[in-house]
């Protein structure tokens, strides 16, 4: 068996007396898609905030691709290839859809100032490659038609997709998606599932997917972790989890 | 670069001066009887040159008097205070001066506004104040027996200029700009009243705020006011900028201004544009010229009139201490008794309001970057 890309051990987070996360554990393997579900306030977003360096753990250890990232800064973690999206969308709203994606893909350009100034062959090759990557993402996400609109004025569902492909443009190894289908209707959520499935296959991504749309979770995830009040209550395949009595009581019973 | 170097030099000199000064101060304090005079004014900020000239004038007079044996053996000592040309700060400083019993008289506060703020405090502390620049005539009409003034009031110059414009030059359509302070408003009012008495018309009456650097809106009005002449109740900086900006905007007219513009800075800041500007001031006799020459020699620059007024105020206070005794009230009584005292401004007498009496005026015009005598 290959080694886990992301391992989390005994992760705790306390906010002034509230234990938001208690003893969270995870092994995320390359190419694996893990769902993270649970009622409101269960601690899901806090886990993502901890993994992405936005919060410091009170206790525990997070390792990504062989690096201990328990205390690392967000940009360092992103550089290592662990990239997140936000439950509350954060786009560069004055930039167009295309520019949002280009800006995220640009730091990987292998060119120097001299290349830019002299328009060297390398410059042209790199820029061409960069355009193609962006084109491919826009095409696959169905955003090509609106690539020149300012991101800030788009409908909610489109903004979600822009945020995801912008994250993909940084070529992460693992992506943490915090409720990517929130606010979408059934058919939009299905289209998003199609796209995520494509992206996961295309880039060999690992995904952690927080989602309230259970059909999205059931379709994409090999494994699902259920949290309640900061702790993992169950984990297993989607079928196992959805039939578990404690889950039905703590989560599905409430949601249904 | 030159400026930088001379500043550094000044700094070194100042440091040396402080060291030496401490020493002398220690000796004098141990040995002698002093008459300490406070010189108050803007020692920092935009108007700091005025405060500096207050101190220089007073210091020059004190040195002269002390060299001639002082006041009955007592040495005149000048101590400077910074009121920052701000009415709130003035109140604080005046209180500090008033409650320092080693100080027997005070002179200064640059503007009429600051003098008004300070006057009641001097009265409450029983300390004589000699005004040496503020020119609102009403200052000495308040019945405050502790306040004297050796400098002239602004009604005199404003009225002389109004007579010149309307009666001698036949310029009857006149625009006015005035600084919106006690000084500007009152001098402007005397000017306007006299113009109207003489049968002239005020075609524009435009106030502006202190520290204005942009006169655009007023200049646009001036361009369309059809004025034959403009009169400014202004200080040199505002007047220079206003005229400069107006000329750059294509305004062609004849410019006249209050005596407060008399300063090297006026042609310096105004440049070409202020050539031909005319102002009226009290006539300056031989004594005035002698002090001015001493100043030029010492500081290598043209003195403002305030140097001379500070000089004369120091002479008056010294004489008052001689006649009335070296106490606060003695000096007040001595000042009241002064009659035709020979000072830097010529023979000094106070009227019943403790205002120095002036009778003669002369006109100046800016030519080749300098104020020169002018006759209509």
């Amino acid at each position: 068996m290959t080694e886990a890309l992301l391992t989390v051990r005994d992760l705790w987070k306390e906010f002034d007396g509230i234990q938001a996360v208690r003893g969270f554990e995870l092994d995320l393997y390359p190419g694996e898609v893990v769902g993270l579900i649970g009622p409101n306030g269960a601690g899901k977003s806090t886990v993502v905030n901890l993994l992405s360096g936005f919060h410091r753990p009170s206790r525990g250890r997070i390792t990504f691709a062989g690096h201990d990232i328990s205390q690392a800064r967000p940009d360092r973690i992103a550089q290592l290839g662990l990239v997140r999206t936000f439950q509350h969308i954060r786009l560069f709203s004055e930039l167009t859809v295309r520019q949002n994606v280009e800006v995220a893909a640009a730091p990987r350009l292998q060119i120097s100032t001299i290349d830019v100034a002299l328009r060297t062959r390398r410059y042209r090759r790199e820029v061409e490659r960069w355009r193609q990557e962006v084109d491919e993402l826009l095409e696959a996400s169905g955003l090509m038609a609106i690539q020149d609109r300012p991101a800030g004025v788009l409908p909610y569902g489109d903004q979600r997709r822009v945020e995801i492909i912008r994250a993909l443009a940084t070529q992460p190894r693992a992506l943490l998606l915090d409720e990517p289908a929130a606010g979408m209707n059934e058919s939009e959520a299905a289209a998003l599932s199609d796209f995520l499935e494509w992206a996961q296959g295309r880039y060999g991504l690992s995904l952690v997917l927080i989602e309230h749309h259970l059909d999205v979770v059931e379709r994409l995830c090999q494994r699902v972790i259920v949290m309640d009040q900061g702790a993992i209550i169950v984990s297993g395949t989607p079928e196992e989890v959805t039939q578990h009595p404690e889950v039905i009581r703590a989560y599905l019973g409430e949601a249904a | 670069m030159n400026i930088v170097r001379s500043r550094l030099l000044a700094l070194v000199l100042a440091a040396a001066f402080i060291l030496v000064g401490c020493d002398i101060g220690g000796l004098a304090g141990a040995g002698g009887d002093q008459i300490k005079i406070a010189v108050v004014g803007p020692m920092s900020g935009d108007a700091a040159t005025y405060g500096q000239d207050f101190v220089r004038g007073a210091q020059m007079a004190a040195e002269k008097i002390n060299a001639a044996g002082g006041v009955d053996g007592k040495e005149i000592v000048i101590e400077q205070f910074d009121d920052r040309n701000d009415t709130t700060e003035t109140a604080n400083i005046a209180q500090r001066i008033g409650s320092d019993s080693s100080i027997l008289a005070s002179m200064g506060h640059f503007t009429s506004s600051t003098v008004y703020a300070a006057m009641p405090i001097y009265k409450a502390n029983g300390l004589p104040l000699v005004v040496i620049s503020a020119s609102d005539p009403k200052i000495t009409q308040q019945g405050n027996e502790w306040v004297f003034r050796v400098s002239p009031t602004n009604d005199l110059g404003a009225q002389a200029t109004a007579d010149l414009l309307v009666q001698q030059l036949g310029l009857t359509r006149i625009a006015t700009f005035y600084l919106n302070t006690d000084f500007g408003k009152s001098e402007h009012q005397y000017f306007v009243e006299r113009v109207q008495q003489n049968g002239g018309t005020i075609v524009l009456d435009e106030p502006y705020q202190p520290d204005t650097k942009d006169f655009t809106s007023g200049i646009i009005k001036l361009k369309n006011a059809g004025a034959e002449a403009v009169y400014l109740s202004s200080y040199y900086n505002d007047a220079a900028l206003l005229i400069k900006q107006a000329v750059a905007s294509g305004v062609q007219t004849r410019w006249f201004a209050s005596a407060a513009i008399i300063s090297n800075q006026f042609p310096e800041v105004g440049g070409e544009a202020v050539e031909g500007v005319i102002t009226a001031r009290v006539a300056q006799g031989e004594n005035w010229e002698a002090v001015a020459a001493e100043y030029r020699q010492k500081y290598g620059a043209e003195p403002t009139p305030f140097v001379i007024y500070a000089y004369a105020a120091t002479q008056a206070i010294a004489e008052a201490a001689r006649q009335g005794g070296a106490t606060r009230d003695g000096i007040r009584q001595g000042l009241e008794a002064i009659e035709n005292l020979d000072t830097a401004i010529g023979p000094l007498s106070f009227d019943q309001n403790r205002q120095a009496i002036y009778t003669e005026f002369e006109f100046l015009i800016v030519q080749d970057g300098q104020f020169k005598p002018w006759t209509p």
Binding site: R166, T170 | K221, G250, E268, G271
Partner: protein
């Protein structure tokens, strides 16, 4: 009240647009720096003042005639502004990047005061005349005669602003600056080198402050050590009204502010114009913190 005629109104509008263009330059620089740094550069006005003084000192060495002197002065001001901006970023702001924002704000205020004292010490606290060899005279615009230099200032300001817009919209660096201005944290997550972006914003924003400084010096004919305060107040007001983070909004509100100010001084009272503008600023901060033209404010100034 004086009657309003067309020539007077044209004159007022042109004057308002000229000074408004200058406010726009200052506001844009301030907004640009605030956008990427999320800290108010309260010494921005002193960059403008220092450049004006440095150019004044250099003027005797530029004995060119007419327009070429103006052009050279402008280029020099842009470069000096950029250099000072880079130095300020490197020396004052970068070391405080990890510190709480309040530390950077206090340092900026301290820097502003220190630079004013420095200028007063080096050059003197009095007014210094600033005169270019170039006097373009007057322009006749229909029934109105207006100083051509005001048109030049307006056009120069617009050209600089348009040039920057082009850079911000068309180049990768420009897009990265806009991305950072829009959300610095996310920009960093996307791999953008925000340290470089902040330095670039300081260089560009301060270059514009420098240009504004010499334009104002030439317009009013004077340079003095406290001139930066007025510029900062107007630039800050324009930035807030335009909506913080909204660069185009900063420019538009700078222009409007210039016109509004001239009209207030002309038809209300010069005494009240500053107070009214200040009340407007407070009103916007309280009632519409995202600005009259703007979107949500990212953080309080």
């Amino acid at each position: 009240m004086d009657s309003v005629t067309i020539p007077v109104l044209v004159d007022q509008l042109v004057s308002g647009l000229a000074i408004g263009g200058v406010y726009g330059l200052v506001a844009l620089g301030f907004a640009l720096i605030f956008g990427v740094l999320r800290v108010a550069q309260f010494a921005h006005g002193e960059v403008y003042m220092l450049v004006a003084f440095l150019v004044l000192t250099a003027l005797p060495a530029l004995p060119l005639g007419g327009f070429s002197q103006f052009g050279l002065v402008l280029v020099l001001a842009l470069f000096l502004g950029a250099a000072i901006g880079l130095a300020v970023e490197r020396v004052v702001f970068r070391p405080l990047m990890a510190a709480p924002h309040i530390a950077a704000i206090i340092s900026a205020i301290g820097l502003s005061i220190a630079l004013q004292y420095l200028a007063a010490f080096l050059w003197g606290a009095e007014l210094h005349p600033f005169v270019l060899n170039w006097a373009p005279g007057n322009l006749t615009l229909g029934p109105a005669t207006i100083p051509a230099f005001k048109v030049v200032i307006f056009v120069t300001a617009l050209a600089l602003l348009a040039g920057l817009q082009l850079v911000l919209r068309r180049t990768q660096l420009g897009r990265a600056i806009r991305a950072t201005a829009s959300d610095p944290e996310t920009a960093r997550l996307m791999g953008i080198n925000t340290i470089r972006i902040i330095a670039a914003a300081f260089a560009v924003g301060s270059a514009f402050a420098g240009a504004a400084g010499v334009l104002v010096a030439a317009l009013y004919g004077v340079v003095y050590s406290s001139m930066g305060i007025a510029a900062l107040v107007k630039g800050y007001t324009a930035t807030v009204i335009g909506g913080v983070g909204n660069l185009v909004g900063a420019v538009i509100s700078g222009l409007l502010l210039g016109v509004f100010e001239v009209l207030l001084e002309s038809y209300v009272s010069p005494k009240w114009s500053d107070a009214i503008i200040f009340a407007l600023l407070i009103g916007v901060l309280v009632l519409r913190p995202q600005g009259l033209l703007g979107r949500a404010i990212p953080e309080r100034l």
